[in-house]
Amino acid sequence: MSAVLFDVPGPKARTRNVYLNTVTVIVVVGIIGFILFRFYESGQFTAQKWEIFTFPRVQEMFLTVIGTTLKAFAVAAVGSLVLGIILAFGRLAEAKWLSLPCYWFTELFRAVPLLILMMIMYYGLPSVGVKGITPFIAVVVGLILYNGSVLAEVFRAGIASLPKGQREAGLAIGLSNGQVLRTILLPQAVRAMLPVIIAQLVVIMKDTALGSLITYNEILYYATFLGSQGQYGSPVVPGLMVAAVIYVGLCLILSGVARYTEFKMSSRVKVVKAKAGIAG
């Protein structure tokens, strides 16, 4: 990775690295230690503030709100991928009447803050008489419009980054433009862009937390609610800590699953190799 920059370290460089390593470890441990110590000093780790997390009802509720977060994530993720592919195809179309609106659509929805988009859905539309906009709908539609536009750009860039020859080779054997796009370009673009797509999925997961600001009852909303529990010492900071751990955990699991898929895809090469070994 950093082979771009560095020579293989010699003995002196190795000594210097040991020194740098030590300093880094001391600084990092120092910072984390200080934060934990101060939280401890200011009573954030008292039994009273953490007692609430021991109640089965609270634990169940955490499972429930993880569920609502995942529900919003799953629907938004699928919706964004679908919208992204449709918009990307639209933008790549030769017909201007199709590609231009798709272009403006993606530009527009990437320019509006997601929170404002959710507010327009949730507060704005009902104020002019649109009925049935639940927080779930506002969160999911907002996420889809925004991330679909972002993913459209990702797919388009992925297709554009493929060697020109791939498209030409497809055309040269008589495939139509649409066939080339579907069977040759898109599968390769998805593969090439998989890390970016995964990063965007993690963004969707994180952005479900914006739902808490428009009263969607997800993890952060519930964690904040627990802060109102005065009889348990108003555990605001502990609530945030628990929420942070859950979010980081969910995002890491998501990245892990995605990496596994990526590995599976690339290990197709190995499977193929093995098969070829038997055949040849």
Partner: protein, 216 residues
Amino acid sequence: MNVLLDNSQLFIDGFKNTGILFIFSAFFSLILGTIVAGMRVSPAPAMRAAGTFYVNSVRNTPLTLILAFFALGYPKLGLPEISFMNAAIVGLSLYTATYVSEAIRSGINTVSVGQSEAARAIGLPFMQTLTLIVLPQAFRSVVPPLFSVFIALLKNTTVAAGFSVLEAGSIRATLSDLGEPLLPGLLWVALIFVLLVLGILSPLQRYLEKKWKVAR
């Protein structure tokens, strides 16, 4: 139009604070992000690990939560008191710095290995290889993604609305209390963001991108 004109002071104050949040956060995240990027390409494994840990943990945490920590957790650290505006700036900077560092790091990686090998082959030591050859070229491929990061930052400032910074994102709450029509109000907010992004930042990004593409 009425909502905008009747509440012009509200919109002006809101977007002024959005601007302050944006400019300071952009500045600090650029500095911090560069340092973290440096750590992540450093030859010392612990520095790389620390940089990676920071980026991975912060990038996987919702911004809303990070800002909440700064508004509510920071006062418990016993450090000098800071205003909520500054707390929001710190939170936004820490969050955005992870994206800045990734943009810079991937920019460094776009410079072909051959460039630094050629530099080393004529006898340039590490620092000069970095400063004379790699960074100047990396910079060109860093600027476009960096702009995207800053566009995201501009939009992310709205999240600070929940944390005692009266910026564009909090205009809704005030309008709502004033009994003003909400949809037009929100659409105005959206429109102003669209103008800021599509009217200023994106063209600037395209301009720089083009300028440096030619120079290459």
